[in-house]
Symmetry: C2
Subunit: 408 residues, 2 copies
């Protein structure tokens, strides 16, 4: 899908009226690693969130749910290095983080979205926040988005930020976001952290509706390792600083806003998949010709979740039987005898399967196509007109290395 | 669970009236690797099978379904090195294999169970069978079980065979089996090949009932990599040579027979999990205190399927938060605040979580417990009296290595 809106600089503070910071407050031992991000709007915002569906949920999730129940928020605080989950004092810590933000920024504590990411079940204290919140608040800047993006990273190797510009009611609007991966990712929704801000004016109900719709086609189509995490969420703040007529119902403006949100989320998904733990390649699956959307999604997601295919992609091995296998156990109703499969990358297209059976292809050419760092498995079901895309990555030695000794 | 029946030698030909062979017929290039197994009963047997639920199914599955539709069979032929799946001429090949068995053994072609395992979507010819079936049939011996076990191996590093003795109606009976893994294993049923023979007399209906029950608690609780394969099945042949009164209904004899079948299948599952692709450790999860059996099974299976936990076990890292995380997204209804977790091995027990929260433990002692080659994650749900066990393995560099370049 071609991108509809121009990308702009500024990430999570590309929108007017937002400031951000990311500093080292001491959650992590490594002093050179920023570990707390703070994002603040000049004014109260419409707020919408989607949360992990894991039954085990971090204390920050509970506190955030309560804080955004009225559809409004003004700030986001997020630490990396400790998930604040399965701790006896988790809620106390999350509420303490909110109170400290309130004390140092003037935002009401109940307007703060709280998030934590890192190891589950580790003791956590409020001390780093007590000692460091003043300097974090002092560091808030209209160009602090990149620092914030860095502060929420765990095993991520690159910071993930994106922003777009679009027009509503003749007013230029901006929307930007940051997100972190890069393991324990198999959203159902959501399984990472993502914070989006916009200066568009949109009602809380419309913001939630747009977010819930977009999440289904973006973060819920992303998988790194099949593990749905306990802590993670996507939050969107809309402060209305762009001055457009507030979006309060479906219509042309709602559609434009939702398209911008889709573009921001899809881009972040792509960045997260490519930076999946240990990944050397982005692996996407584009399913076309499905009888309905649900079939297309089930099929696409099953393919990018297959450990066997992911390992084959790492090895640049055109083992297309594993694609058929993953389609077969996807749970989707498929007519296997109609399925065509191609491996696609920047340097070429290799058809490997037609009507459910293998066809001859050059192993040498396939190796060349699969040696690129962005691989699409194009599946044509020849049974209808619906399509879907899912994002994932290859399975590598480094995934095992990172996760064999993450905690100690 | 303690083993109820004594183990005996002989594997898949421990039962009276069965012969087996395994030879190199040339499916594989490596001449030192046996690649076709043949198992034949002296007389017609009751036969039962369970098959993969993958929508993409190998041609041998279709042919076998037709051959055992009447509840009887007398021989099993299985090749490794080519899955005979997604080939235009697959059914022709599978029927040709049956016909050649008939020609050289006197078993009717429609009484032959056919199986293939290996790469999907590779061209296959009947030539190796045409040229080699005479010598394979000539090699049939009452002690040929180990050769057959070797012939069905793919990426397995050890042959898997087991046999037990038990008594029905005062008659000593034997039951033995062979199976192969060791990747693309996530049964639903079944996702590997397993062949069991017994000299007990049991009607086809009772044999199928016992098998379907046992599979739910054994092979369907086994996962190596979450990939449900296209080809695989478990077949049981019962020839009645032991002379017991035929089992034709539920009752004490049926229960004894089913217990023996459980023991054979559970032992083979354990062996397969421990020899999972690249595995260095057997990983089991024993869930107790569940409100019902379905909850216990969902919870146990989710834990042993977690890539993150599997990698942590490889690294001997007591990252129990990943256990809680996997329980939380298992789909089971759980009261997280009641969950206790312990890591258990031959050298000790490390409690790590009580009532859903972490408790202090010695990292050194945990490392020692987790450095063993058989690790159980003991999960007490404290919500009832049902239990379940699931079998898996750690996720290692070698899994990636094996599957990054399996085909070429």
């Amino acid at each position: 899908m071609a991108d509809q809106f121009p990308f702009v600089q500024g990430g999570v503070v590309a929108a007017q009226g937002f400031k951000a910071a990311g500093e080292h407050l001491g959650i992590r031992k490594n002093r050179s690693k920023r570990d707390v991000a703070l994002i603040v709007s000049d004014t109260l915002c419409s707020a919408a969130c989607c949360y992990t569906r894991n039954l085990v949920q971090g204390a920050p999730i509970a506190v955030t749910r309560a804080h955004v129940a009225n559809g409004h928020a003004r700030a986001i605080i997020c630490n990396s290095g400790n998930a604040n989950t399965c701790n006896a004092n988790g809620v106390e810590i999350a509420e303490g983080m909110s109170a400290l933000v309130a004390q140092h920024t003037g935002v009401a504590a109940e307007d703060v979205i709280v998030a934590s990411t890192g190891v589950i079940g580790q003791e956590m204290t409020l001390d780093p926040f007590i000692n460091g919140m003043a300097s974090l608040a002092a560091a808030l800047r209209p160009d602090g988005g990149h620092d914030a993006a860095e502060a929420i990273m765990t095993t991520d190797t690159v910071a993930k930020e994106v922003a777009v510009t679009f027009t509503l009611g003749g007013k230029p609007c901006q929307m930007g976001g940051i997100s972190k991966g890069s393991g324990m990712i198999h959203p159902n929704m959501a399984t990472m952290l993502c914070f989006v801000t916009t200066d568009a004016a949109v009602s809380p109900a419309c913001l939630q509706e747009a977010l819930s719709d977009v999440v289904k086609d973006t973060f819920n189509m992303l998988s790194i390792d099949g593990d749905t995490s306990t802590n993670d969420m996507i939050s969107v703040l809309a402060n209305g600083a762009a001055g457009n007529p507030e979006i309060t119902a479906r219509g042309a403006d709602f559609d434009t806003f939702k398209a911008a949100l889709y573009q921001v989320c899809a881009k972040l998904c792509r960045m997260m998949a490519k930076d999946g733990e240990g990944a050397t390649k982005l692996l996407t699956c584009t399913v076309t010709g499905a009888k309905d959307k649900a079939t297309a999604k089930l099929a696409a997601k099953s393919v990018i979740c297959s450990s066997l295919l992911k390992a084959a992609i790492f090895g640049s091995d055109a083992n297309w039987g594993r694609v058929l296998c993953a389609l077969g156990y996807s749970g989707a109703e498929l007519d296997v005898s109609k399925i065509d499969v191609q491996f696609v990358s920047r340097v070429g297209i290799i058809p490997v399967c037609t009507a459910g059976s293998g066809i001859p292809f050059s192993e040498e050419a396939a190796k060349k196509v699969l040696s690129e760092d962005e691989i699409d498995v194009a599946v044509q079901l020849n049974s209808g007109s619906e399509s879907a895309i899912a994002w994932g990555c290859d399975l590598t030695y480094d995934y095992v290395k990172i996760n064999g000794d993450y905690r100690t």
